[in-house]
Structures are given as structure tokens and as C-alpha cells.
Subunit: 151 residues, 2 copies
């Protein structure tokens, strides 16, 4: 089983810790996990595991988008806290056409709604977990943990 | 040898990865390292090492401030990216009266200057590494690495 985690822009302080957490949890569930991120978001993830204990498998987001095909992954998990991240999620979701989970979070509740609409209007069948959150990772973590149980 | 790392508010995405990095590097240098942080900043650090590989030693910032005395630590390292963080750093620095290092970073260069002034005007002898940075941790990491060599 293969899982792909999509990271958005690095502005939000919860994303990097949650990326390591999601990688670790999915690995324990038996997934071979890949994290796709832009260079800045990647750098943050690398620095947060300086000794490489988690064996985080990081790849470039745009490059992966150019190479990926249906059937390459069994699960897509996206961190969606920007327009661009929502657009990337929708695009990967359409290409992969597999089980998918969008973790939508933003400080501003209106933006949370906007990102959810973007995903829904794309015709995606993704499970969407949406919360108002920024520097407190707990609501995102709780949603993620629940969603994992329902996979 | 004992080192205390002070974390500021959790808003900045570079802080959590750099906290794990600093903990890891100081541990390798032989320090017994403690990270003092407020509850939100602590939560982010905990989630970023879900398997506990780094054995991060986290304590409550305010409680530590109430208990700490001169001689308790041989090195103080502070992440300074807010007024409050600068004030905490200056206060711990005065109490501990030991070798200290302030990692000042902010997106806004004027604020970087303001935080440096706050530390200097307190009469602190801290080594101050100041850079304009927010979601790119590299400038902070490079400064930290350099400062470690000069300890």
C-alpha cells in the first residue's frame, strides 16, 4: 500500500509537525509513505528530523505532479490551508482517482469554507476534515486520527 | 553541562523544526537539554516527534521562570520572534547569568532590530544572531550552527 501526503505552503506552524505525525501514523498502518512538498516546506520537515529517525521520504511537489498516474498510490492525504494547496489537492485527487483525505485548516473560518467548496465543486469524493486552526495542531490531529480509523 | 532552550509563541513555522534541531545538536555536544515553552508551542514540538525518538525534555515556560536560579544552567538559547519572547529571554538571561545566545528572527526587518535593541538595552551580554526569516529556517539554522562553534 502506498500513501502520498501533500504539503501546502510552509506558512502555517502546524503543518510541519503534523506532516511528521501523519507520516509516522500511516507508516505504522503499513503504508509506504511519500511526502510531496515545495522546497521551503520540505526544508522545514527535514530540519524537524535532523537525525533522520523517521526516514521521511520527501519529493518535490511540482515534479511529482508531472510524473504521477492513476494507480500509483492507494491513499492521498492533503494539507489544505491555502488556495494553491486546495488546487494541488484537487488535481492530484483527479489524477490518482483513489481514496483521499483533505485536512482543511485555516485561522479564518470563511477560508475554511472556501477551501471545502473548492474541493467539493471539483467533484472530488475525498473525505474532508475541516477545522479552524492555525498554531494549535490538536484539532487537526484529532480529525486526522478519526479519519484514519474510518479508512 | 545543562542547556535551556526558550521557545516563543508558536506562530512562526520555523520555531518547532528549529527547536528539535537545536535540542539534537546541543545534546550531541554533551548538554543535558531542557526546552521551556508555553502549552501551544510545547504541543507542536510533541507532535513533531510522535515516536519520542529525540527524548525531548519539555517544561512549562512560566513555571520554569518561577523556579529557576543562577547556576541552574550553563547555556541559555532563546528563540526571539515576538516582544514577549524578547522579554522572557532578557529575564531568564538576568537570572541565570550564564553564557547565552539569542536567535532573533522575524519576517519584518524593523522588528528584528527592535528585538535586538530590547536585548542589548537590558545590559545582556548574550550573543545575538539576528536575521530576517519566517518560513525559511535556513538563515536561523546557519546562524545557530555558527554560534555553536563559537561557544
Amino acid at each position: 500500500m502506498k500513501a502520498l501526503i501533500l504539503l501546502g505552503c510552509p506558512e502555517t506552524p502546524s503543518q510541519t509537525p503534523m506532516a511528521v505525525y501523519a507520516f509516522s501514523e500511516l507508516t505504522k498502518l503499513g503504508y509506504d509513505v511519500t511526502i510531496a512538498a515545495n522546497p521551503a516546506a520540505s526544508k522545514l520537515v527535514k530540519i524537524s528530523d535532523p537525525e533522520g529517525y523517521y526516514k521521511l521520504n520527501l519529493v518535490d511537489l511540482e515534479r511529482t505532479l508531472g510524473e504521477v498516474s492513476e494507480g500509483d498510490y492507494d491513499l492521498l492525504v492533503g494539507f489544505v490551508h491555502k488556495d494553491a494547496a486546495a488546487a494541488f489537492f484537487v488535481t492530484f485527487d483527479q489524477i490518482l482517482n483513489t481514496k483521499s483525505l483533505a485536512l482543511v485548516f485555516e485561522r479564518d473560518l470563511d477560508l475554511v469554507g472556501e477551501f471545502v467548496s473548492m474541493i467539493e465543486e471539483s467533484g472530488s469524493k475525498a473525505k474532508i476534515c475541516a477545522v479552524r486552526a492555525f498554531h494549535n495542531p490538536s484539532p487537526i490531529k484529532i480529525n486526522f486520527d478519526k479519519a484514519l480509523k474510518e479508512l
